[in-house]
């Protein structure tokens, strides 16, 4: 028995030590927190401050306790150009969300039915845009949608049209590429959501006399609603925040908020205005997030029940 006691003593120490000092643990996470605080929290707060400042030239420092002004917002909301832009962004976001959902939901559903290589193939095809640079996808779509491009040639060969396809049908092209970029996110969330519905419940609905449509509307959809809402919020936020795709695909023909932010930052050097536009973008995203979440919970009475 005495042979064991040194080992036991030693064993006690690591465990005791582990329990004893939250400050030591705190030291481990401190660098990260400092990084996030200095380079995230403070810059964002300063950005907020800037949006409520008088329009000053770029690179000039706006004092925290200086003048507060609504000048930027007045300019934005007073100008039809900006209001148009906000509406455009909302339309682009909504369009992307709708298209993404319509495509991703059936894919996610089908994923619950297959196994093996078919499943892997679909997952790889749908998730690849996550890992391959967005520029590759944009270039690829550009080729497809270009006047004199692939689709153009195909349609000509089929005799459906003659002459160039005109402008890239900018708006639709934008939605197409944005949808393409965000299908991976949607498929992931929806597949997980659908996977969580026990097949017993679906079978039960069938025994009780429900056909495919009624089962979907009354059982599958409500139970996947949290996933649908999460998808909508995520895809909406990502798509209206995208700068690259509108810039390259539409050549700035479709004016959306990120393009304005870029212009005012890099070319027109009106940083306070850019900050104000960013704030509006932020508010839209936050508004959609909270609004949809509350709405969906209300509709499905989500506060009152849990999964059984």
């Amino acid at each position: 028995m005495s042979d064991l006691s040194p080992a036991i003593d030693q064993a006690a120490t690591p465990i005791q030590e582990l329990r004893a000092r939250p400050t030591q643990w705190g030291a481990l996470v401190a660098p990260m927190l400092v990084l996030v605080f200095i380079f995230f929290v403070i810059p964002i707060l300063y950005l907020l401050r800037m949006s409520f400042a008088e329009q000053a030239f770029a690179k000039s420092v706006v004092p925290i306790f200086g003048v507060y002004s609504l000048e930027n917002f007045a300019e934005i909301f007073g100008d039809i150009f900006f209001l148009d832009m906000i509406v455009n962004s909302l339309i682009v976001g909504t369009g992307t969300v709708v298209a993404t959902l319509l495509i991703s939901y059936p894919i996610a559903y089908y994923l619950t039915l297959t196994r093996g290589w078919e499943r892997t193939l679909i997952l790889v095809a749908c998730l690849l845009p996550l890992f391959v640079n967005i520029i590759v996808a944009v270039l690829g779509w550009y080729i497809l949608l270009l006047p004199f491009g692939v689709i153009q040639n195909m349609l000509s060969a089929l005799g459906l049209i003659d002459g160039p396809l005109g402008a890239l049908k900018s708006f639709w092209a934008l939605i197409t590429v944005l949808t393409y970029e965000h299908i991976p996110f949607a498929v992931l969330i929806l597949a997980a959501s659908l996977q969580n519905i026990s097949p017993d419940k679906i079978n039960m609905a069938r025994v009780l006399g429900s056909g495919v449509y009624r089962t979907f509307l009354t059982i599958v959809l409500p139970l996947t609603m949290p996933g649908v809402v999460a998808t909508v919020i995520l895809v909406f936020a990502l798509s209206i925040s995208s700068y690259l795709v509108p810039a390259l695909i539409t050549g700035q023909q479709v004016m959306v908020l990120p393009i304005a932010i870029f212009s005012y930052t890099s070319y027109l050097l009106n940083w306070t205005l850019a900050a104000a536009i960013s704030l509006i973008l932020l508010v839209i995203v936050a508004g959609i997030t909270f609004g949809l979440t509350i709405l969906a919970n209300r509709l499905t009475r989500r506060g009152e029940w849990e999964i059984v």
Binding site: P43, I122, A274
Partner: protein, 262 residues
């Protein structure tokens, strides 16, 4: 009904793969412009690409940037993930939320805020500034990956090791690290690819002469339109992406991980 669904799915699969696969055949064109079908086959554009010094420089820069960002990110994430999982810290959820919050706002808003802030403190158009920016958006993912790894550690293995007389360092080295190896690789790879592929931040924060690869491509496309060289690079990027996918699948079974089957 099921047949219609299947057809739809396969159509989508083709459409999803098409833009990425387009780059290769088009880049192999022997002609001077981007046409479909390609004007003969030739490797000349790939050769052109490797001869383009500026391009090669940007590839190198992107690579080094991603390396730094990923490495630093993992170095920061490991102790933090340990602290969150093992230490009895107050406000653990708050801390986790704070760490992941940079990803919760639109990236363009974040980068604008950083740009302005950097002007203030003199980090504008510096490599360090870019590294920090990439850290902010990659750390949430490497942190989460490592967190999963650490919470899946079986404590009893560590306790057995301690009871058998191993020092803390030895236990860490022999028991904890092997288990975490795959998660470390995954966290690094995630961070790397996010940094390597990132455009928005690099666009705002890099100096004109010191562009990263995606920014260089963006500029050339914006100014000069489509050229086969761009497609050659696009093909290279596609391969990088595919390889990353494979690595992540082999380590943490990303297909399952991302689908939430764990």
């Amino acid at each position: 009904m099921l047949l219609a669904l299947r057809l739809f799915i396969y159509l989508i699969v083709i459409i999803m793969l098409l833009p990425i696969m387009m780059s290769l055949p088009m880049a192999l064109t022997a002609g001077s412009y981007v046409t479909f079908p390609p004007d003969g086959l030739s490797l000349k554009w790939f050769i052109r690409m490797s001869q383009d010094l500026i391009l090669m420089e940007t590839i190198g820069r992107s690579f080094v940037l991603a390396l730094f960002a990923a490495l630093l990110g993992v170095i920061l994430s490991v102790p933090s993930a340990f602290a969150i999982e093992r230490g009895r810290l107050a406000g653990r959820t708050a801390i986790e939320t704070l760490i992941t919050s940079p990803r919760m706002i639109p990236q363009i808003v974040l980068v604008l805020a950083l740009l302005i802030f950097y002007e203030f403190i003199g980090l504008a158009e510096t490599f360090a500034g870019l590294v920090i920016a990439h850290l902010l958006i990659t750390v949430p993912l490497s942190f989460r990956t490592l967190h999963v790894g650490i919470s899946s550690l079986d404590r009893r293995l560590e306790w057995s090791s301690a009871i058998l007389g191993a020092s803390r360092a030895r236990t860490f080295h022999k028991i904890i690290v092997p288990h975490l190896k795959t998660f470390l690789i995954a966290a690094f790879t995630f961070a790397f690819i996010i940094s390597f592929n990132n455009v928005t931040m690099a666009l705002f924060l890099s100096a004109v002469g010191e562009r990263t690869l995606p920014v260089e491509m963006f500029n050339r496309m914006y100014v000069g339109g489509m050229t086969p060289v761009l497609l050659a690079i696009a093909f290279v990027l596609a391969v990088v992406g595919a390889v990353t996918f494979i690595v992540l699948d082999r380590t943490i079974g990303v297909l399952k991980y991302l689908s939430g089957h764990n």
